[in-house]
């Protein structure tokens, strides 16, 4: 590409990206630091006065520190679900790739079914109720695991194929059983894809709105995405607090993004393109 063209095109693209992508984020930040009256006008302008700290404290205090509870809940939900997903998904992906059997076709079919079929909401609530897990964090964790398994297994299966079988055989000679082989030899070698799964699934589960809405109702169980929704009604006249809330819950994905940019992109494309 010629030099001038490179800069002109880049300049145009950057200008367009500012209007299309940065303005909405700037709108969030600016609204979050305004006072109530200025925020209520929904205008895109410079704050006449800055209230970052006041708004932050007020949004945290709302409804008896609901947002704090929500952050704790969301973090528990995300950490435990992702841990289970990694271990269980890797176990399935490992055996699925290594040992073709009569189960292989069934498992493959179920993995696809899990990707395509929309979960049946009310029957799931019915099942959760009958095993005493409706509105509980355990139930919600297992739901996230059930819904995330398919994609996780796909990623692991693809990656296990790149680990030489000779390693397994060396382990047998050392007298390792299946558990030791898996946890001490294979799982450590899966580290790159484990990181990918962690990052991709934690962003997905942290941002999940629909499933907690259905399966984890109740104030003490609230997750960060639901606070947004609860506050939407309450903060009708307090847009500054609503946007402060949006700003706060955008920070964790932002941090993840800054640190794991590559893994996210790799993970999102790996399962998809190479499939």
């Amino acid at each position: 590409m010629r030099h001038a063209q490179r800069y002109i095109l880049g300049g145009v693209a950057i200008a367009a990206s500012i209007v299309v992508f940065l303005v909405p984020f700037a709108f969030i930040v600016l609204t979050a630091v305004k006072d109530r009256r200025q925020a209520a006008t929904r205008s895109f302008d410079w704050p006449t006065s800055w209230h970052f700290w006041d708004n932050l404290m007020e949004v945290l205090r709302t409804q008896d520190y609901m947002l704090v509870t929500a952050f704790i809940n969301s973090i528990i939900l995300t950490v435990v679900s992702v841990t289970l997903l990694v271990v269980l998904g890797a176990m399935v992906g490992f055996v699925l790739q290594r040992r073709p059997s009569r189960w292989t076709a069934i498992v493959n079919f179920l993995v696809l079914a899990g990707l395509i079929i929309p979960p049946a909401v009310v029957p799931t609530i019915w099942v959760l109720q009958s095993i005493g897990m409706f509105k509980t964090m355990h139930g919600m964790i297992l739901i996230e695991v059930a819904y995330g398994l398919s994609f996780t297994i796909l990623l692991f299966r693809a990656f296990v194929a790149t680990i030489p079988r000779e390693l397994d055989e060396a382990a047998i000679i050392d007298g390792a059983g299946p558990l030791r082989l898996f946890f001490q030899v294979v799982l450590p070698l899966l580290k790159p894809v484990v990181v990918t799964v962690i990052v991709v699934q934690s962003v997905a589960i942290f941002n999940d709105f629909t499933n907690p809405l259905y399966y984890l109702p109740g104030k003490q169980n609230v997750t960060v995405q639901l606070t947004l929704f609860n506050f939407q009604g309450q903060f009708n006249t307090s847009l500054h607090l609503l946007f402060m809330n949006i700003l706060l819950i955008t920070i964790p994905p932002l941090i993840v993004y800054l640190f794991f940019n590559r893994q996210i992109v790799a993970g999102m494309t790996a399962g998809a393109v190479k499939g």
């Binding site: 205090r61 709302t62 409804q63 008896d64 109702p217 109740g218 104030k219 009604g233 309450q234 903060f235 009708n236 006249t237 307090s238």
Partner: protein, 430 residues
């Protein structure tokens, strides 16, 4: 139903942090637990009542607990009743929601309690089970569903409060001609769209006295009952005449309250409850807003559709039913009314005989009272007379009220929605 939305609205506009102040319990006291919704006005009222009652009954300790409103609250009430974990006293809606918690099976019969002598019959009817027994006592005040109006606009244009629909529309025409918004609608919050239909029920029953019973039995339909169709038709008429505020499709309930208070619009079809929101959002205009019933065809039979307050109930699983009854009796006494007025303000008439309001109530409340008094004309809303309310009404009234769907179509669609609800409830005749 609408009550629930109101509770949410109250919560929304005030946005006060609710911090539970559970009373300290002593060893020798009987502990009575008390559950209520977390709307700030309810919390203030409930805690004041508990404190006043404890002061009079040193041997009883009322332990307060708040719960979410809306669908979450419904689920919580049902679950706690089903699992036997319900508090000794709990606050919940009267009318169709009360019927949905299976009162005959779950609640203590309070028909013969002495305090019932003072409870007004129209309330008792809304907390009566299928066996004809009474299961609750009122807490809070009744409300009217009608038209909030801006008094300065009425004075400026020399208008008088309309008694018939024709007079109302004539007023609207003059307001529009003066370059003002005649009717405020706030479809950004869909529940606010239902007043033309729900608030017209007084006029429906004035023409067809058996409508509620026939409707519950599946014999009367909105689309085939001309008097019941009126609500939909009038909503359509107001839209077609171009009387609405420019941002009616996106405006929210607080927007509507602010507009009616500051004179950005002349009429706002709403429940009288909104007076507490005016106090919150535009206190300097509290005396600028008045209230009248949604007028019908005939000026001679003008009357108000009313909403009942919530009830207090005692579950059969309560370990201290006598102490719980004592507390309920206190709430439903003149003294109890006064405590409520002091803690939550005067928003309407009480359903307990001889309870009074302070002399200096806002105009909305003073306009409301005559409808309830001796010789006044009022009738409870349909949701207190029938267990069926279609869940999609608010979307349908938004469509009719913004010209997306015709009134006739809307009414027919609502009949279909009602049918689903009746079938789901397993009512006979559907």
């Amino acid at each position: 139903m609408l009550m629930r939305n109101l509770t949410r609205a109250a919560l929304a506009t005030t946005g006060i942090v609710v911090i539970m102040a559970g009373a300290a319990s002593a060893q020798d006291k009987v502990k009575v637990t008390f559950l209520f919704d977390n709307a700030p006005s309810t919390v203030a009222m409930a805690e004041a009542l508990a404190a006043a009652f404890e002061a009079k009954n040193p041997n009883i300790d009322i332990e307060t607990e708040s719960r979410p409103g809306g669908a979450d609250g419904d689920n919580l009430i049902k679950t706690r009743l089903a699992t036997g974990e319900m508090s000794d006293v709990f606050l919940y809606n009267a009318g169709s929601l009360f019927q949905a918690i299976n009162p005959v099976q779950n609640l203590v019969d309070v028909t013969d309690e002495p305090f019932q002598a003072n409870v007004i019959d129209s309330f008792k009817a809304t907390v009566t089970g299928t066996d004809g027994r009474v299961y609750g006592a009122p807490i809070g005040t009744a409300m009217g569903g009608g038209m909030l109006y801006n008094i300065p606009i009425y004075k400026e244009l020399g208008l008088s409060v309309p008694k018939s629909w024709a007079e109302f529309m004539a007023n609207n025409e003059k307001i529009k001609a003066a370059g003002k918004t005649a009717v405020i609608q706030t479809f950004g919050e869909t529940w606010t769209s239902q007043l033309f239909v729900l608030g017209d029920f007084y006029n429906v029953q004035a023409v067809v006295p058996t409508f509620a019973a026939d409707y519950t039995a599946g014999k009367a339909k909105y689309a085939s009952t001309p008097a019941a169709m009126k609500g939909f038709e009038r909503q359509e008429e107001v839209f077609k005449a171009g009387y609405l505020n420019e941002d009616f499709a996106a405006a929210t309930f607080p927007d509507g309250v602010t507009k009616i208070a500051t004179g950005e619009g002349a009429h706002y079809p709403m429940l009288s409850f909104a007076v507490s929101n005016i106090k919150e959002l535009a206190p300097e205009h509290i005396n600028d807003v008045g209230f009248f019933a949604i007028p019908g065809d005939d000026a001679a039979s003008n009357g108000l559709t009313t909403w009942m307050p919530a009830g207090l109930y005692i579950p059969k699983t309560s370990k201290h039913p006598d102490e719980a009854k004592a507390f309920v009796a206190f709430v439903a006494s003149i003294e109890g009314c006064d405590v409520q007025t002091q803690s939550a303000g005067a928003t309407g008439p009480y359903l307990v005989k001889d309870c009074t309001l302070p002399a200096d109530v806002p105009p909305v409340v003073s306009d409301l009272l005559p409808y309830f008094q001796e010789g006044g004309h009022s009738a409870p809303a349909l949701e207190y007379l029938s267990p069926i309310k279609g869940p999609a009404l608010e979307q349908i009234t938004v469509e009719v009220g913004s010209g997306i769907r015709s009134a006739a179509d809307g009414a027919a669609l609502y009949d279909e929605d009602v049918k689903k609800q009746a079938q789901q409830l397993g009512l006979p005749g559907w």
